[in-house]
């Protein structure tokens, strides 16, 4: 398989579970080496975790022993940001994530949605150029998910990072992405690359009532359905 992601593009990868969506992301992030072929970021092959790449995991990876504030500060601390600048950027991050009032809370006291907000903001606060997201909202309820979609889109409109977003939720992919890559069952190959023709900025709630949304959903669902329906080998 082969695909390219343009600068500032929001690409979603959807496919049946076990098709290797997450593996693609792990290869992009330098966590897993490809068995064949090459992965390049800005024309350079990926051999290790590349700089300027942020990764939001499906699992909750907020550090349980750090408060919200100190979780969001992590990336800045690693980069040697100290003192007033650190504090200002962390405060800004907390504000953007809507976590005011929870600065000194430990993750164990937060809901799943809030923890994922912390994880997202912790990644964004260091201003990555490329954002890899592996079903980051997979474990959340529909309402929380929609709220976070709106927030993610808002943050993305402001910065236009290059995003590769893996999900098995087609509505999520259509809501967020410019382009959707549909994968086949294992062994995963690219089945379809589809441009989402819905204008931005998008309203995550109203979007779902529009004809464009229904059309996009219909087209991709038909293709994805073939993959889900066929019996395994």
């Amino acid at each position: 398989m082969s695909f390219e992601v343009a600068d500032a593009e929001f690409v979603a990868i959807v496919g049946p579970s076990g098709c290797g969506k997450s593996t693609i992301l792990n290869m992009l992030g330098g966590l897993v080496a490809p068995s064949a072929g090459a992965i390049e970021v800005d024309g350079r092959p990926v051999t290790d975790v590349p700089p300027r790449v942020g990764y939001v995991f499906q699992r909750d990876t907020v550090f349980p022993w750090r408060t919200v504030r100190r979780n969001i500060a992590l990336g800045l601390e690693y980069r040697g940001v100290r003192g007033a600048e650190l504090e200002a950027r962390v405060r800004e991050g907390i504000r953007l994530a809507g976590l005011e009032g929870f600065e000194d809370a430990f993750p164990a006291t937060l809901s799943g949605g809030m923890r994922q907000r912390v994880a997202l903001m912790r990644t964004l606060v260091v201003d990555p150029e490329i954002l890899l997201m592996d079903e980051p909202f997979g474990a959340l309820d529909t309402h929380t998910k929609l709220t976070l979609h709106a927030e993610l889109l808002g943050l993305w409109e402001a910065r236009h990072q290059t995003v590769v977003f893996v999900t098995h939720d087609l509505s999520e992919a259509i809501t967020l992405a410019d382009r959707i890559i549909v994968m086949t069952r294992r062994p995963g190959r690219i089945k379809l690359v589809h441009d989402v023709r819905i204008s931005r900025p998008r309203d995550v709630i109203k979007l779902r009532e529009t004809d464009e949304y229904a059309h996009e959903y219909g087209v991709i669902w038909h293709v994805l359905g073939e993959e889900l329906a066929e019996p395994g080998p």
Binding site: V53, F57, R59, P64, L74, Y78, R79, A108, T123, V126
Partner: protein, 271 residues
């Protein structure tokens, strides 16, 4: 009465009943022609009133070696053994826990040494380090080190790989990963071994004091000396003091644990 008060009430009641029964039962004379024969002989287990008298004597200024000096000596050796054992055990656990090859190389040595009964080392340690403080610390260390080491090792191996990955994506160096991910996540495991460590440090020190003679003093010395003079009361004074020391140290550790692991849900309430 609150739940707390009720528990406290029963604790105190049991204590009073035990002490009362002890005092009373050891006071019953056996029906016998021989005078001074008891049904339960206080010669062997002493009596609370006698123990209290001996304690007052040992705590006062008249005794050649006061109970305070002996307790202090025991506490000192125990804390040293504990601190040295915990820090080296934790460090070794971290290093080997994060380095598979090193762990495989050292595994048989650690297992072999750990399965030695530490008491068997006492004569050797005495030969090398003499009878002083150092010998007791070394003895306590040989026990504490392994308890902490094995726990830390397990903890360091089971650090969540996704947490390490996310730290790397946030730009952490290996050192920073160690400091911000591995150490905090391993601490919870290490703390599980702290309370037993204090008890074992105490065991090591008291065994060392059995041999140590008067030079280092200590409660172990009081026990051995009481055996020589067949003085059950003094022995009980030493044992009860050791019990109190054990409780105080365990409570102290729990306080530190509450503070360091306050992020864990089980410490959240009232912490």
């Amino acid at each position: 009465m609150s739940e707390r008060g009720r528990v406290l009430f029963w604790r105190l009641l049991i204590l009073v009943v035990l002490i009362g029964a002890w005092e009373w039962l050891t006071g019953i004379k056996a029906i016998s022609k021989t005078p001074g024969l008891y049904w339960i002989d206080p010669f062997f287990i002493s009596r609370p009133s006698m123990i209290l008298r001996r304690f007052a004597y040992l705590a006062g200024g008249e005794a050649r070696l006061s109970i305070w000096a002996m307790a202090l000596s025991t506490v000192q050796s125990t804390l040293w053994g504990f601190v040295v054992g915990v820090s080296t055990g934790f460090a070794a656990g971290l290093v080997l826990g994060r380095n598979d090859r090193l762990a495989r190389v050292f595994e048989p040595y650690f297992i072999a040494f750990n399965s030695l009964p530490r008491i068997a080392l006492v004569p050797l340690i005495t030969m090398i380090f003499g009878f002083g403080l150092l010998a007791k610390i070394v003895l306590a260390w040989t026990i504490v080190f392994f308890i902490v080491f094995f726990n830390t090792f397990q903890g360091a191996r089971s650090v969540d790989a996704d947490l390490i990955h996310s730290a790397r994506f946030l730009g952490a160096s290996q050192r920073q990963i160690m400091r911000t991910v591995v150490v905090p996540s391993t601490l919870a495991w290490a703390f599980a071994s702290m309370t037993p460590s204090i008890s074992f440090a105490l065991i090591g020190v008291v065994v060392g004091e059995f041999l140590g003679g008067e030079s280092g003093g200590g409660l172990g010395y009081l026990i051995i000396q009481s055996l020589g003079t067949l003085n059950a009361a003094d022995m009980m004074v030493a044992l009860l003091t050791l019990g109190v020391i054990g409780i105080v140290m365990a409570l102290g550790i729990r306080q530190v644990e509450r503070r360091l692991l306050r992020w864990r849900p089980e410490y959240r309430q009232g912490a």
